[in-house]
Subunit: 191 residues, 2 copies
DNA sequence: CCGTATTTATAGCGACCGCTACAGAAAAGG
DNA sequence: CCTTTTCTGTAGCGGTCGCTATAAATACGG
């Protein structure tokens, strides 16, 4: 998993995997089938700790959920003991046409996560917790882009503190806060 | 260039390059040396239209410059006629250890762009256009992350309009605006 | 301690990688 | 038209890719 995480799907050779595991190719193929199946198992294993899904399920509001996602992204993407950034974002960026399905599989995971973010936002809009004119898809796209940017910055050397500050800045784009925090006592409405 | 742009450095083979150019390997090697030199020339060619450097040089304020960078990123990353996203961000993500220098070369370009953004921000802070407590490096990191996230989202299928909305949201994190726009008539200062 | 079943290591398959020697075709000079 | 020079196409170099047939080594039942 660490090999795929660091170098990506195609750039990780069977030889590097077998040496990392301390086994020989026939054992690897007996245990996992082929390289693609092994990678699928790696992705499954990686996703067992899906802090995004966990935050979306556990936090009471979309705002709290996304703030937590950004906070945990800052921590996880820079945590020691494994490569920086997110495997789902970075493991199948540069693939030849013969591995397009691997790239599409990871893209599907990304799209599902984005849709899950949009769902909790839409839920809070429906519940009146967010302005009616909030576009859940666009807001989800913005925070998905933020998280991906944080992952890339982590790979480029950003620290946890750096990314936490980025997360704070990203939360300034959250809707409703602006008027809520600064408009003061409610004045006369428009009309 | 389009081949490298779409598939990345290592995933692009000499065979695919020669067929795309309509030439044979010996002609390619006579003209460009080896694959690495060809890629360097591709990156140079790609950077001839560096909308970030242009915006930073031409716009009068850091805010205008970065708003323009985000706007042009939305347009360029989704423009027809070439692959989506940015070559500097996406062409050397998954490389083996033998091509680490290619990845580092692109990383250097990214770091330089980030430093250039930080420079214009620091300049405006020094000029009093931005709050004194503004951290140019962190703000530059945030917008660099945003642009990279936009590039990735473009590769995942986001449209120009999508990315323009993301750009608008990102500009909500710009410092100073908050108080300027919403605090109303200046009240008594602190103390 | 012996025979059997399972796992392991050795060696190598065909295919493709980046790259190049060499020969045949095209262009330039007389 | 012939020679010389430049260029292009064919073929193939050593090496690595993902993957596997086969044999040696191990664990198990009696």
């Amino acid at each position: 998993m660490l090999e795929f995480w660091r170098h990506g799907y195609e750039a990780t050779s069977i030889a590097s995997l077998t040496t990392a595991m301390g086994i020989r190719p026939p054992s690897l193929y007996a245990a996992f089938g082929d390289k693609r199946h092994l990678f699928e198992e790696v992705v499954q294993r990686y996703r067992r700790y899906d802090f995004t899904a966990r935050a979306l399920a556990e936090e009471p509001t979309a705002r709290a959920a996304i703030a937590r996602v950004l906070r945990e992204a800052a921590a996880n993407y820079t945590a020691p003991g494994h490569p920086p950034g997110c495997l789902v974002f970075s493991a199948a960026v540069n693939v030849g046409p013969e591995s397009a399905d691997v790239r599409e599989a990871l893209r599907g995971i990304r799209e599902a996560a984005k849709a899950a973010i949009a769902a909790v936002i839409a839920s809070d809009v429906a519940a009146g917790l967010l302005p009616e004119d909030t576009d859940p898809d666009i807001l989800a796209l913005f925070y998905a882009a933020t998280v991906q940017g944080m992952s890339t910055q982590a790979r480029d050397g950003a620290t946890r503190r750096d990314l936490e500050r980025v997360a704070e800045l990203a939360m300034l784009a959250w809707p409703g806060k602006r008027e809520d925090a600064a408009e003061g006592p409610p004045g006369p409405g428009p009309g």
